[in-house]
């Protein structure tokens, strides 16, 4: 990662409440244009990190830079370029979607005459342009989340922070929202930080993930890199149960293309591979003498496995 592209950098960042360290000696670098998933259970310190990024709470120790600005000393400069959508977003329900966004635009010092255009563009991006004059009180949760995205886009941010964005949404709406994020990242090169514990959803869009536990970053990297830490270079793990002479098949299986490693325990064989080789494995066993395939399972390592593995270690 090139140093020039780092947009968020934390060094030895610590936040204490009394004697309790909510964020403990955190070192974090997020590159410009990256979608970064900040993962961890409740109380891991994710929200506190977000508050410190926005200058809403002061770090107890360490340094933090957002686009070169210190959020504690220069909160307005940071907030001018950073959009934030909290976990449970609220809007003024007696105001329309347009009025809510216009208020945000005014708070962002956007020129009065350009506000209607900006509001329309933001609503169009999230597919709410037809509901612009509808009271927010009549919006569904998914619509409010989309309005939240429009709300952060009003200021043309460089960085957007979403706290549990897809929490409580049905999978279809959640996927639509994630697709919008991916598009925005591609088109506008916005850096996204997604704080979440919905790992399967985060995995779809995040370039890099950081796994937090008890205020510490216990794992960080691309999803496949983190998987490597657990299962080596391979992405898939095939578990086979056979009956008969195991030794008759082992060498043939090892010779298969893309097999990384094989482990044997009684009649159970575990094969790690980069690709799905179930067909080749079953064909090999079928062609071997005195060996019968009883059961075969393939497991692809997801972010959830990685996450659980990290927490098992912790």
């Amino acid at each position: 990662m090139n140093d020039k592209n780092i947009i968020i950098e934390a060094q030895n960042l610590t936040k204490k409440y009394g004697s309790l360290k909510v964020v403990n000696n955190l070192n974090l670098s997020i590159a410009e244009g990256e979608i970064y998933g900040l993962l961890g259970p409740n109380g891991a310190g994710k929200s506190t990190i977000i508050l410190m990024l926005l200058g809403l709470t002061e770090p107890s120790e360490g340094t933090l830079k957002v686009a070169g600005f210190n959020p504690t000393r220069e909160p307005l400069k940071v907030k001018q370029i950073t959009g934030y959508l909290p976990e449970k977003v609220g809007f003024y329900e007696d105001m329309t979607a347009s009025q809510n966004l216009a208020y945000t635009a005014e708070l962002n010092h956007i020129e009065f005459k350009t506000i209607p255009k900006k509001v329309h563009e933001a609503l169009k991006t999230v597919g709410l342009e037809k509901n612009s004059n509808k009271l927010v009180g009549h919006f569904s949760k998914g619509m409010k989340q989309r309005l939240g995205i429009a709300d952060v886009l009003i200021k043309d941010p460089k960085i957007v922070i979403f706290d549990e964005l897809t929490e409580g949404l049905d999978p279809e709406v959640a996927n639509q929202i994630l697709a919008t994020i991916a598009d925005l990242n591609k088109e506008k090169k916005i850096t996204f930080i997604l704080s979440s514990h919905q790992l399967n959803l985060v995995q779809k869009v995040c370039h890099t993930v950081g796994i937090m536990s008890k205020g510490k970053l216990i794992g960080e990297g691309r999803v496949d890199e983190l998987a490597k830490n657990i299962v080596g270079d391979s992405k898939n793990k095939i578990d086979i149960e056979i009956s008969g002479k195991v030794e008759n098949v082992i060498d043939k299986l090892k010779a298969l293309k893309s097999v990384k490693s094989i482990s044997i325990e009684n009649n159970m064989i575990s094969i790690s591979s980069d690709t799905d080789i179930r067909q080749e494995v079953s064909r090999t066993i079928a062609n071997s003498e005195d060996v019968l395939l009883i059961k075969m399972d393939m497991k692809t390592f997801s972010l959830e496995d990685i996450y659980l593995n990290y927490f098992k270690e912790v």
């Binding site: 508050l51 950073t82 959009g83 708070l107």
Partner: protein
């Protein structure tokens, strides 16, 4: 400063379009119009026959057999108006989950509380100023006696004192809105304090004074002591301070005697003449300063607590 102005404009627009504002305005106007009715019934003849230099002020101070005077109404309504504009200032933003979104915009945190406070004062000033102008206008047309310059000045001071008094109650309610999470709790506590100062403190003051200096077969010295104790305790209440100050300002003849123990027999022998505006102000200056200071203290405490609060979306 732009942040304060944006919040101020939005809050002002919210106040003017809110049902609570319309209801309160209606109540205050109703009280004002009924007091005009009462005063017109009683002072038209008196004005023609009397040599009293302050006939116009009687529009605000004359009570009927059943209906009280305008100043009695206003001393009752101002705390309610103040509480209504302050009790949900901060906790409603928090419970509607708007606060964290609002504070993630490029505005200083104090812009929120300052904007809300200023909008509340403006609304309060408009309510008080408009009702005094309406009474003056209608009264002028009905009784046909224009106010002299001193009466106008006295009315201006009266308006300022009413605004300070309303600001105190608004600041107190706002303080509870910062401390308490639920709007129902903050309004209940504010009303409980108002009821205590308005109704219970005079009873407690009387009970304590009578316990220390019983009036039964009391000597003149004991009676004076009883009065002093009662007055001293009552002056803990901003309601007492407000009543004393507006009475002395709007009833220039003889009302200053309420502040110190005077025997009825002495009053009967006195030839009362109105005191000048300067003298009236000297008499009530401590009360005005205390009301103003209480308003500032309440707001300052709210401000400090709000600035130190942790802002989270949950």
């Amino acid at each position: 400063m732009r942040g304060i102005l944006t919040v101020y404009r939005k809050e002002l627009s919210d106040h003017f379009s809110s049902k609570k504002f319309i209801i309160l305005l209606g109540l205050v106007y109703l009280a004002g119009l009924s007091s005009i009715y009462v005063s017109v019934q009683n002072i038209r003849d008196a004005a023609q026959a009397s040599t009293d230099a302050f006939v116009f002020l009687r529009l605000f101070t004359t009570a009927g057999d059943i209906l009280p005077s305008f100043i009695t109404f206003i001393s009752f309504f101002i705390p309610i108006v103040g509480i209504v504009f302050g009790f949900d200032a901060i906790n409603s933003e928090r419970s509607s989950r708007n606060l964290s979104r609002l504070l993630s915009q490029p505005i200083y945190r104090d812009s929120v509380i300052n904007g809300k406070f200023l909008a509340g004062i403006t609304t309060l000033s408009i309510i008080i100023g408009s009702i005094v102008l309406i009474i003056s206008g209608i009264g002028l047309r009905i009784i046909g006696v224009p106010p002299n310059s001193e009466e106008i000045l006295r009315l201006l001071f009266f308006i300022f004192i009413c605004i300070f008094y309303g600001t105190f109650w608004m600041g107190l309610a706002m303080l509870f809105s910062v401390i308490m999470d639920k709007t129902a709790t903050s309004i209940l506590v504010s009303i409980a304090i108002w009821l205590f100062f308005m109704f219970f403190l005079p009873i407690i003051a009387s009970a304590i004074a009578n316990a220390i200096s019983p009036l039964e077969d009391a000597t003149l010295a004991t009676q004076v002591q009883n009065f002093s104790i009662q007055k001293g305790i009552s002056r803990i209440s901003p309601a007492t301070l407000f009543n004393e100050s507006i009475l002395i300002l709007l009833i220039p003849t003889g009302s200053h005697l309420f502040l110190s123990p005077v025997l009825t027999s002495d009053i009967e022998r006195m030839v009362l003449s109105p005191i000048s505006l300067g003298q009236s102000l000297i008499q009530v200056w401590p009360q005005i300063v205390i009301i103003f200071a209480l308003a500032i203290i309440c707001f300052a405490v709210s401000y400090i607590l709000f600035m130190r609060q942790e802002i989270r979306s949950t």
